[in-house]
């Protein structure tokens, strides 16, 4: 695992030096603005607005980083040929992929954790106190992070066999489809044949189900998140992510570089 750690640490260093974490400034400004504004215009729902806005921002900013940087993790190395010298070292291609994945997840974790701190500061600004129920925000942030990790794995899979542009499109498409995967499974339509319905259900089970990662509504209203849901989501990401990364490694292990 030494090689994986080395690649991961370098990927994190790249993100820091390429100023990826500068998005935190934008997030901080957004939270400060929201805290000031919400304090003036809303009565009794400040907490809910701040939590919803904060979690949405964490999710959207994370999505951008996961998709765009996730796709670039492999394709940029191939385009710029920085990979040549690295693969000439005693490094397996899957170690490189896993290291890149871990590096970006590490970046997202730091980024998300910093934004979570910003969100708590904004909450404290409007409420002048923090309650026990506010801890559920952390669970929501954790679920967002799990979702982002899965998106990074998908972005890497697509970037292993297609162009960066198409990889971004595929990843974004799968994400949107995954958000509605639950609806696809339960959908009833009269004008669709039974065969087509079965096929659609089958596809919906292949798609990553992102529905379980969205607990914003509950947390924004101070409600808790069942432990079983968190455990299920964690297990789901570990298993689904492992399959996606194994697929990426299988494709990348036979990929001819330019």
């Amino acid at each position: 695992m030494r090689n994986v750690r080395t690649v991961a640490a370098n990927t994190f260093r790249e993100a820091v030096r390429d100023r990826v974490l500068y998005n935190l400034v934008f997030f901080a400004l957004l939270m400060m603005g929201a805290a000031i504004l919400v304090g003036q215009i809303s009565i009794g729902i400040e907490e809910s607005v701040i939590v919803s806005l904060g979690l949405t921002a964490i999710s959207v900013i994370g999505l951008f980083i996961a998709v765009f940087i996730g796709v670039g993790l492999v394709s940029k190395e191939m385009d710029k040929r920085t990979l040549y010298a690295l693969l000439a070292k005693p490094v397996e291609r899957w170690e490189f992929l896993l290291g890149k994945f871990c590096g970006l997840v590490m970046t997202l974790t730091v980024n998300t954790a910093a934004m979570a701190v910003g969100l708590y500061l904004a909450l404290w600004t409007v409420k002048h106190t923090l309650e026990k129920s506010d801890a559920w925000v952390l669970v929501a942030v954790y679920l967002i992070l799990l979702k982002l990790a899965l998106i990074v794995a998908l972005a890497m899979l697509f970037s292993c066999f297609t162009t960066p542009f198409l990889a971004i499109l595929f990843t974004a498409g799968i994400y949107v489809a995954g958000v509605f995967a639950g609806d696809l499974r339960t959908m009833q339509a009269v004008d669709i044949s039974a065969g087509a319905m079965t096929l659609m259900r089958g596809i919906s089970y292949l798609l990553p189900n992102f529905e379980n990662f969205t607990v914003m509504g509950a947390v924004a209203h101070g409600r808790g998140v069942p432990g079983a849901l968190v455990g299920h989501a964690t297990l789901y990401v570990v298993c689904y992510g492992a399959v996606v990364l194994a697929g990426a490694a299988a494709i990348f292990s036979r990929r001819n570089l330019k």
Binding site: T6, R17, R81, A85, K89, P90, N256
Partner: protein, 317 residues
């Protein structure tokens, strides 16, 4: 018999091109050759001949359509083999957000070196390739020649048994080229095997124990540079100065550059020519054997290949 450092057997590679990649172009055809342990081997060929393709196949950056290769007796599929190999890619490019010291330290980590060992090696290597003063500058500010030096440094940092350099002189000024030549000679002195591709034939003549010439994806010859071009001399060349107004029959064959005349003759005509020049009061500057150069040998091969390709194209029409 000792295990060769590099052993290539029937390697072939085709590249797809055209609409939907349906057409295929042969980049390498049934290449077989050996590089013996401890020798400096020059891989020569014009652009697009298949030199870089061969090297990339050896490094598993691309995969062959046929054939196999072994380095130090191990299959190139075995990643552990890379512990004993150093590789400089053609026109190398590295993480531009790192400094030279950081990028070398990064690559050294994959060889399991301790922190103290890494630090010592990195400092020594930066000194060796002349980057000691620029070690704290990010690579995005480096020139092409400086990146080439970083590339060379990362290739030999872990003291590998086999060093494979793809166009190591590319982008370097005369001083840099001389430094690279010195490094290659130093590696040879230490008993390391060096395979390098180049189209600078004078470098190959100067450094290589043997060279392999590849043209159009096919290996056209392997041997010592002198063997390759043939050791037989092709006559003599006399350089001389002679005052204007004087004439000898030899002048009809001579070419003039400034005050200097130069004439090429068969060896048996040497003494007759000297007698003529003595009689005319000419000052003989030099008498030298004419040897065919590697460049001539190389150019003949390339031209023959082009002629053959044209013939195939015409007959195809």
């Amino acid at each position: 018999m000792a295990t060769p450092a590099i052993e290539i057997e029937h390697l072939s590679k085709e590249y797809p091109y055209g609409f939907l990649n349906l057409k295929k172009k042969k980049s390498l055809e049934d290449l077989s050759m050996r590089v013996e342990s401890g020798e400096v081997f020059g891989f020569l060929g014009p652009n697009g001949a298949g030199k870089s393709t061969t090297i990339k196949l050896l490094m598993r950056l691309i995969f062959p359509d046929g054939g196999t290769a072994r380095i130090l007796g191990k299959s190139i599929d075995d990643v552990s083999m890379h512990r004993d190999i150093g590789y400089l890619p053609e026109q190398p490019y590295f993480y531009d957000y790192l400094t030279a010291a950081e990028v070398l330290d990064y690559f050294a980590r994959f060889h399991g070196l301790t922190a103290a060992d890494r630090q010592t090696r990195v400092q020594n290597m930066l000194k060796k390739v002349g980057l000691e003063t620029a070690k704290k500058i990010q690579l995005r500010k480096y020139s092409k020649g400086m990146l080439q030096r970083v590339g060379l440094a990362q290739a030999i940092l872990h003291d590998p048994q086999v060093v494979i350099l793809d166009e190591p002189m590319s982008g370097l000024d005369p001083l840099g080229r001389r430094e690279v030549r010195d490094i290659i000679l130093e590696l040879k002195k230490k008993g390391r095997t060096v395979l390098f591709s180049t189209h600078i034939l004078s470098d190959a003549e100067m450094l290589c124990d043997r060279v392999g010439v590849i043209v159009g994806g096919k290996l056209r010859g392997v041997g010592a540079p002198a063997e390759m071009v043939g050791i037989k001399t092709q006559g003599i060349e006399i350089s001389f100065e002679m005052s204007d107004g004087k004439s000898v029959p030899l002048l009809a064959k001579a070419t003039r550059t400034g005050e200097c005349y130069r004439v090429q003759l068969p060896e048996e005509e040497l003494y007759g020519a000297i007698d003529q020049l003595k009689a005319a009061g000419a000052r003989i500057l030099s008498v030298a054997h004419i040897k065919p150069t590697l460049e001539e040998f190389f150019m003949n091969l390339v031209e023959a290949d082009r002629a053959q390709a044209n013939a195939v194209e015409v007959s195809g029409k």
